[in-house]
């Protein structure tokens, strides 16, 4: 009987605490005020694991194709470069202002701190999933609502080659016809 009372008291305490936090407005939602380390870790792990599970069954097509690079390059320039940057660019208003900061796609995964050997297929299918579905409360839109799978794979193909492109190569590939 005593255990049941303790359990009910704990549940009530958790609910009351949660309601107090939600309605008191004490959580700072400003993008210029970063999360604490624990909250950041929790959100990052949740996001990474969710994407990994959701994308695990996606088949990756052959991405080494010139036409895919041309189509994906133009879309990247108009839809992605303002946040994810272009060769030679270190930052933009969007990359500075968004929180969490959008990844700089002009640098390789090793430069992002991945010490393990990168599984290119895994990276590609996760990029496809993120471009298609977006990420809640991050500024990343769901491009799948307005772009078909083929165009999204073209973007993935371009992003795969982006870290190796020079500013000149980037300019030519992403320019208009």
């Amino acid at each position: 009987m005593n255990k049941i009372k303790i359990f009910i008291f704990t549940v009530v305490l958790v609910v009351v605490s949660a309601v107090t936090v939600i309605y008191s407005g004490i959580i700072d939602v400003a993008a210029d005020e970063p999360h604490g380390d624990l909250v950041y870790w929790l959100l990052e792990q949740t996001r990474e694991n969710s994407i990994e599970i959701a994308a695990k069954d996606i088949d990756v097509p052959n991405l080494d194709d010139a036409e895919m690079l041309l189509s994906g390059g133009m879309d990247y320039q108009f839809m992605c470069a303002s946040c994810h940057l272009s060769p030679g660019q270190k930052e933009s208003d969007m990359s500075i202002g968004l929180y969490p900061a959008p990844p700089n796609l002009t640098v390789s995964h090793q430069s992002h701190g991945d010490k393990n050997k990168v599984d290119e297929n895994k990276v590609s299918r996760e990029q496809f999933w993120v471009i298609k579905h977006g990420i809640k409360a991050s500024g990343m839109p769901a491009w799948g609502k307005t772009h078909d799978d083929k165009r999204i794979w073209d973007m993935v193909a371009f992003i795969k080659r982006l870290p190796s492109l020079t500013a000149e190569e980037y300019q030519i590939i992403t320019s208009t016809d």
Partner: protein
């Protein structure tokens, strides 16, 4: 005021202003679509089996073809090269 102070007085605000400009460059807001700058393509360093090189070649060939077609559309035979542009002159009618 010695020269060093004068230089500092001019240089420090100039540097501060130029830094704020690079952080928020208004030119980036209205970035227009650009044509490919194919003059910077170095064919000698290109691996023609690489998709990036192939994409660049396709883009530049397409652009060149488009420019040639545009040029061909102009019918020079109908153009009067000696004709001066019309001048809008107000005439006084009496």
């Amino acid at each position: 005021m010695n020269i060093l102070t004068k230089v500092a007085v001019i240089l420090i605000p100039t540097l501060a202003l130029s830094m704020s400009v690079s952080a928020h460059d208004p030119k980036l807001h209205g970035k227009k679509a650009e044509k490919a700058d194919c003059s910077k393509m170095d064919h000698t360093k290109m691996d023609m089996k690489d998709p990036v090189s192939m994409a660049m070649m396709k883009k530049c060939m397409k652009q060149e073809k488009h420019a040639t077609e545009e040029k061909a559309k102009m019918d020079h035979s109908k153009m009067d090269m000696k004709k001066e542009p019309k001048k809008e002159v107000d005439t006084i009618e009496g």
